[in-house]
């Protein structure tokens, strides 16, 4: 690289210095107030059961977020200014609702949030130089596959999906972490083979296709992960993997043909699994019309719809609804509880926050220094956005309900920690690329 012009010219935009993060501080204070208002309500409403746990946990989490902010300020970290506060509000909402639904889950979620924040700080500290991650792509593919296979043999079935590893003390859902590995693998692979995939070396009629060499590893990776997920019956995760895969291929090549081809594959795969698997047929049946099955398989989705409907515009008010009737309300269906008690305003608020998250992520991808960073940012953003979309669409009956967690809000240690690591990687990419972000 001694000759020619360097690929990435240093950014001129250093006038807005990276030292202070006043915006982030103000927003975090607001998030802390929000959390405290919720926790105080819960405390005053039922002091006997909750004791001091809820307000204490709320205060600790708010303080932990501020500490992360202060640490970044002190160390001159230049990651995105908005993502941490958006995450803080999402996490606060989740924690308040978990304490409201079941203080036991609330306490455990509280500990997981602290572990998650710890892993966020570690990610932004140890992986600041994330570029070395692109060197080990086949190792990711291998490790990812092994981790995915493990639950099939040693796994424990929960809610129809056999995707959990039981360690006695705690349970662990590997597919949450494999998602990140898959994105890193794809980003590395696609950035290396982007030119060939875009231009194509064979032509099929009017469409030029790349050769088998470039195309095969992708298809194999995709096929194996989908097959595994079908065997684990984890349909929601399969959908997220596939959507992220298509989004990244499109981001890398800008060729709509790949998306159409992928959608074709998806439709055929969906029809085949509809014909082959009973549990898939069941899901579609209760999606199209759950009302005849209200006493059985349709109970969950109908209760979710009742809850959302009874919320109205302003909601029943925190602790005033009856979300306890919804099965697994603490995890996958927490969005229905939020809609019931905070109404349309609160539900739309959550969706808007996720949209902002995706917006910032897309911006990070556009500003990234090179292809690997851009593709990784796009993939991680697509991953989180799709996951939020699929579960929100599921509980509102826009799509068939599949069991995935609502990022940062639902109860679940693996999901929470994995999402904090994802956030850390996004922040590292923005840290490297631009001071102004």
């Amino acid at each position: 690289m001694s000759t020619g012009v360097q690929y990435a010219a240093p950014h001129l935009n250093t006038s807005r210095s990276a030292k202070g993060r006043p915006m982030e501080r103000n927003l975090l204070f607001l998030a802390a107030l929000y959390m405290l208002a919720g926790m105080t309500t819960l405390y005053l409403d039922a002091p006997g059961i909750l004791a001091y746990q809820a307000p204490a946990a709320g205060l600790t989490v708010a303080a932990a977020f501020l500490l992360v902010h202060l640490y970044w300020k002190a160390s001159g970290y230049k990651g995105d200014r908005f993502l941490l506060s958006i995450t803080a509000v999402l996490v606060s909402t989740g924690l308040v609702f978990l304490f409201r639904l079941d203080p036991d889950y609330g306490m455990r979620q509280f500990i997981w949030i602290l572990i998650g924040l710890g892993s966020l700080v570690l990610t932004t500290r140890l992986l600041v130089d994330f570029r070395f991650l692109s060197d080990y792509k086949y190792i990711y593919a291998l490790v990812g596959l092994i981790i995915l296979i493990l639950p099939i043999f040693f796994g424990k079935e929960q809610g129809g999906a056999k995707s959990w590893l039981d360690f006695g003390l705690f349970q662990f859902q590997p597919s949450e972490f494999v998602k990140i590995l898959v994105v890193l693998f794809l980003a590395s692979f696609l950035s290396e083979n982007k030119a060939v995939l875009t231009a194509g070396t064979r032509s099929l009629g009017w469409i030029s296709l790349p050769g088998l060499q470039e195309w095969a590893p992708l298809v194999v990776m995709w096929g194996i992960s989908l097959l595994l997920l079908v065997f684990q019956r984890d349909l929601g995760t399969a959908l997220i993997y596939f959507g992220t895969f298509l989004a990244m291929v499109y981001a890398a090549t800008a060729r709509i043909f790949y998306v159409l081809f992928g959608l074709g594959l998806f439709v055929s795969g969906a029809s085949v699994s509809y014909l082959l698997f009973g549990h898939v047929r069941e899901r579609v049946l209760i999606w199209l019309n759950p009302w005849p099955f209200i006493d059985g398989i349709g109970y969950q989705i109908t209760q979710s719809l009742f809850a959302i409907g009874s919320g109205g515009i302003l909601g029943a008010g925190l602790n005033q609804g009856y979300p306890g009737y919804i099965p697994v309300v603490h995890s996958d269906l927490i969005f229905s509880a939020i809609c019931e008690e905070l109404g349309l305003l609160g539900g739309a608020g959550m969706i808007i926050l996720f949209m902002f998250f995706v917006f910032r992520g897309t911006k990070i991808a556009l500003h990234a220094r090179d292809e690997f960073a851009a593709l990784a940012a796009a993939g991680l953003t697509a991953l989180l956005g799709l996951q939020a979309f699929i579960i929100i669409a599921g509980v509102t009956k826009l799509l068939p309900l599949t069991g995935v967690t609502l990022p940062f809000i639902s109860y679940g240690g693996s999901s929470l920690v994995a999402n904090f690591i994802l956030l850390g990687l996004l922040l590292n990419i923005s840290h490297e690329s631009d001071d102004s972000l």
Binding site: M1, S2, T3, G4, V5, Q6, Y7, N13, R16, M23, N26, L27, L30, A31, L33, Y34, A37, G38, T40, T41, L44, D45, R81, F82, S85, I86, V89, T93, V96, E192, N193, A195, V196, A199, T201, R202, G211, L314, G315, G317, L318, N319, Q320, L342, G343, L345, G346, G349, I352, L353, F356, F359, D370, S436
Partner: protein
């Protein structure tokens, strides 16, 4: 009284969520406005460089060759993105055992000519330095692909440098 306080708190929870979102929108809007302030400038720069691209051409001329198909002095105009490689579908076909089937490409972006290695086995060299990520080509640069060396010539500069 107590229940009244509770009612207020309950709606304060929702109200604070809305206030947070409104603040967030406001800050993000400021952020975007700042970005916009930079936009017209960069826009102008792009269109300027586009003019340069349209007026000046460039070509690759062979200066050293181990391949029988390519002789010294052969020149290839670069009017679009071109691929160098061993397969027949490449724009410049190099029949050389050290060349990969899709070896490297030269493309035009933001008014510059860029050289990028397409993951070749033996590497692409610019002035005998391994190309690891896309680089901008300058007039007179030597590009080595396997046993063949090209010189990059920008026609706008040609009068002064050669002849």
């Amino acid at each position: 009284m107590f229940s009244f306080v509770l009612l207020i708190l309950r709606y304060a929870f929702l109200a604070l969520l809305c206030i947070f979102i409104i603040k967030l929108v406001k800050w993000m809007f400021c952020d975007l406005a700042n970005d916009k302030a930079l936009l017209p400038d960069s826009h102008r720069k792009l269109s300027e460089t586009k003019d340069v691209k349209e007026t000046a051409g460039a070509r690759l001329s062979v200066v050293k060759s181990s391949s029988p198909d390519l002789n010294c002095g052969d020149a290839f105009e670069i009017d679009k993105d071109i691929v160098l490689g061993r397969t027949g579908s490449s724009d410049i076909v190099i029949r050389d055992t050290f060349t990969s089937s899709k070896h490297a490409r030269v493309f035009i972006k933001t008014g510059h000519y860029w050289l990028e290695d397409l993951g070749s086995t033996n590497g692409t060299f610019l002035n005998e330095v391994l190309v690891e990520q896309p680089v901008i080509l300058a007039d007179g640069d030597m590009i080595r692909v396997g046993g063949v060396t090209f010189q990059f010539v920008r026609c706008g500069h040609e009068m002064g440098v050669h002849n």
